[in-house]
């Protein structure tokens, strides 16, 4: 783990400093029995969850940090997070070698121990992860930040454990921006909200009568773009979450919507309506230069730029029904990607640029699916009364979306892995829609 500079700001986005801990391996003179490298295979369709024991960390915030780590790993669907009540060894400690036999008895494959301490206003947390069968240390790290950032330390620890065991970066030190919904169906209140991916620290960013729709994070996670619907029109706002500064993005008329950031964060691509027709435009936030990318009497909306910055996918009904198209960055060469039965919309590129997630409507039901970048190999992941608006986790493994289970039910945030497994409700207890996943925080 590279050392990052400490940022003494009390802001909740203050950086986490991390470093390697001195290994305890030196104190275990006899290497354990040869064991296969402990690894979790994320691609295997029927992989059994890996049993992992996470002991309560010692020190201030210790129990709370352990609880967050357990919850994170459990929700990933890849781990069987064992109940601490079942542990045989109770005298665990970050600088104590485990009694591996006690852990083998309860079939733990990995064991995590840790402790926290404060010095001044800094919280310093160290932890080790042990390979139980191999009786060796797999990981030893230390994080520090302001005391109020203990949750983020827990998420960084979760990411480190996840990455060490799967080879993939974790999704745990991320946030979700979404719409918090309340009120009756015919008088719906929609507010802009942000929370940690585990439901921690939900924050509501708007008040007032406008209904907020379809927010997105910028590539750094520092800015948000969102749509506000009022009696007289629909406006686009870019909000800087650090400074609180907000900017309106103009379009062609009184309806500007469906915004996303470009991969370099410099521009917003969006839809603008004029005289009943909706086209796709792009605006450079720094220069103010605006370009119109589609000029067609069809509805052209829900644009998304590929991670390599070269291709735009979007929804259009220019072919008669609602389908997904792609085009070049200057708007040329539009090509239809979807030909299946039903209506396709809300295309979203995966972080690696290999897949496109989408919403499909067919046979009275809604579905979330993925396809290759050329439109081939379409795979439906989940189907329900209403699902829409997929958003990818930063590691490309999980898709968050909005779901209504049946007629008249309220929308909720749900997620599913791109493997099609691990369908579960996101940890937000109330009505919610339009989720968008942040990048991993610094």
């Amino acid at each position: 783990m590279k050392r990052t500079d400490l940022n003494n700001s009390a802001h909740r986005l203050a950086r986490i400093a991390g470093g390697m801990m001195a290994g305890l391996a030196a104190s275990l003179a006899i290497p354990g029995p040869a064991a296969a490298q402990l690894v979790v295979d994320v691609t295997e369709a029927n992989a059994r969850p890996l049993p992992i024991a996470i002991a309560d960390f010692a020190g201030p915030q210790g129990a709370a940090i352990s609880a967050v780590v357990r919850d994170n790993l459990e929700r990933s669907g890849l781990f069987d997070v064992q109940n601490p009540n079942a542990f045989l060894q109770r005298d665990t400690g970050v600088n104590i070698a485990p009694r591996f036999a006690d852990w083998r008895v309860i079939n733990s494959a990995a064991l995590v121990v840790g402790s926290g301490g404060t010095s001044g206003d800094r919280l310093r947390v160290e932890f080790r992860m042990w390979d139980v069968l191999g009786e060796s240390q797999m990981l030893g790290l230390e994080f520090s930040s302001t005391d109020e950032n203990w949750r983020r330390i827990a998420h960084k620890i979760s990411d480190a454990i996840y990455q060490r065991l799967t080879g993939l970066p974790g999704n745990f030190d991320t946030r979700l921006v979404f719409i918090a919904e309340s009120g009756s169906r015919t008088n719906r209140i929609k507010r802009l909200a942000v929370m940690d991916q585990d439901g921690g620290s939900p924050t509501y960013l708007t008040t007032g009568p406008d209904q907020i729709l379809t927010p997105r994070f910028s590539p750094t996670g520092q800015q948000l773009v969102y749509t506000a619907l009022s009696d007289t029109g629909i406006r686009l706002y870019v909000l800087d979450t650090e400074t609180g500064r907000q900017e309106v993005i103009p379009g062609l008329g009184n309806m500007v919507f469906a915004p996303r950031f470009s991969p370099d964060g410099q521009s917003i691509i969006f839809s603008a309506e004029q005289d009943g027709n909706t086209d796709i435009l792009m605006r450079n936030l720094r220069t103010g230069q605006m370009r119109q990318l589609t000029d067609h009497p069809a509805i052209d909306t829900s644009p998304d730029i590929s991670p390599d910055g070269r291709t735009i996918v979007f929804t259009s009904d220019r072919g008669g029904g609602t389908q997904i198209y792609k085009m070049a960055m200057n708007g040329s060469s539009p090509v239809r990607l979807t030909f299946g039965e039903g209506r396709y919309s809300t295309p979203v590129w995966s972080p690696g640029g290999q897949l496109i997630a989408f919403t499909r409507q067919a046979g009275g039901a809604f579905q979330i699916g993925v396809m290759n970048a050329d439109g081939s190999n379409e795979r439906i992941l989940t189907s329900a009364w209403l699902v829409e608006g997929p958003s990818w986790s930063p590691n490309g493994r999980t898709i968050m979306f909005q779901r209504e289970s049946g007629p008249g039910s309220q929308p909720e945030l749900w997620s599913i892995d791109v493997s099609g497994r691990n369908l579960r409700r996101a940890p937000y207890p109330s009505g919610a829609s339009d989720p968008s996943w942040s990048p991993t925080l610094d």
Partner: protein, 217 residues
């Protein structure tokens, strides 16, 4: 003055009668998908709007119905031989506002669409012809036209479809002589349903174009 007062009283009574009937007929039980129940006392398909039914049209005013200058606020009648004093601009605006609000309530302020469509059905056009008469007779009052969608579509596409619907209504009203500058359009997508039933009846109601006077305008 006495003569005019008498006419005005008669007109007030007429307006009240028609409005009461309209309220019964345009309630929630709208029945079929693209039908708006136009009050039978004023007849359907009346190109010149209300007032051509069984009740006597207000004297001295143009035949376009109760929402004109012979209305309650005493605005200038416009017919020949009249001695009404010239109104202040504020009063004229207020009169036009009241006339449009009550006129739209009378003839129907919503028309309905098929799934994924912004085409105007025959019955929609009938209602819009009546709306046009109300608007042409009251050029001082502008209206907003909102396009609405049912919940069975994705959010952004529905915002765009709602705009198509609103402009379809506007353009048809323009073709009937309503100045485009008298109308604004907006889409509410699927965000502002008026019917909470999660079935085809409710969705049919929510696929609508709504003509109304904005608060404060």
């Amino acid at each position: 003055m006495r003569q005019i007062t008498h006419r005005r009283t008669a007109t007030i009574a007429l307006l009240a009668a028609l409005t009461l009937t309209a309220a019964c007929a345009t309630g929630r039980d709208r029945g079929t998908t693209n039908d708006v129940a136009v009050p039978t006392t004023v007849g359907t398909g009346a190109a010149t709007g209300p007032g051509t039914g069984t009740a006597q049209p207000p004297q001295g005013g143009p035949g376009s119905g109760v929402s004109t200058g012979t209305g309650t606020a005493g605005s200038g009648i416009g017919g020949a031989g009249n001695t009404t004093p010239v109104q202040s601009p504020e009063a004229a605006r207020a009169a036009a506002r009241e006339a449009v609000i009550s006129g739209l309530q009378l003839v129907g302020d919503r028309i309905f669409f098929e799934t994924d469509s912004s085409a105007l059905s025959e019955s929609a056009q009938t209602v819009l012809r009546a709306q046009a008469a109300v608007l042409r007779a009251n050029p001082l009052q502008r209206v907003m036209i909102a396009g609405n969608c049912d919940e069975r579509g994705t959010r952004e596409y529905n915002l765009a479809l709602g705009a198509r619907r609103a402009v379809a209504v506007r353009d048809y009203l323009v073709s009937l002589g309503v100045p485009q500058t008298q109308m604004d359009t907006v889409s509410y997508g699927k965000e502002r349903p008026i019917d909470d039933r999660p079935n085809s009846e409710g969705w049919a109601i929510n696929r609508n174009g709504h003509t109304f006077v904005l608060a404060g305008q």
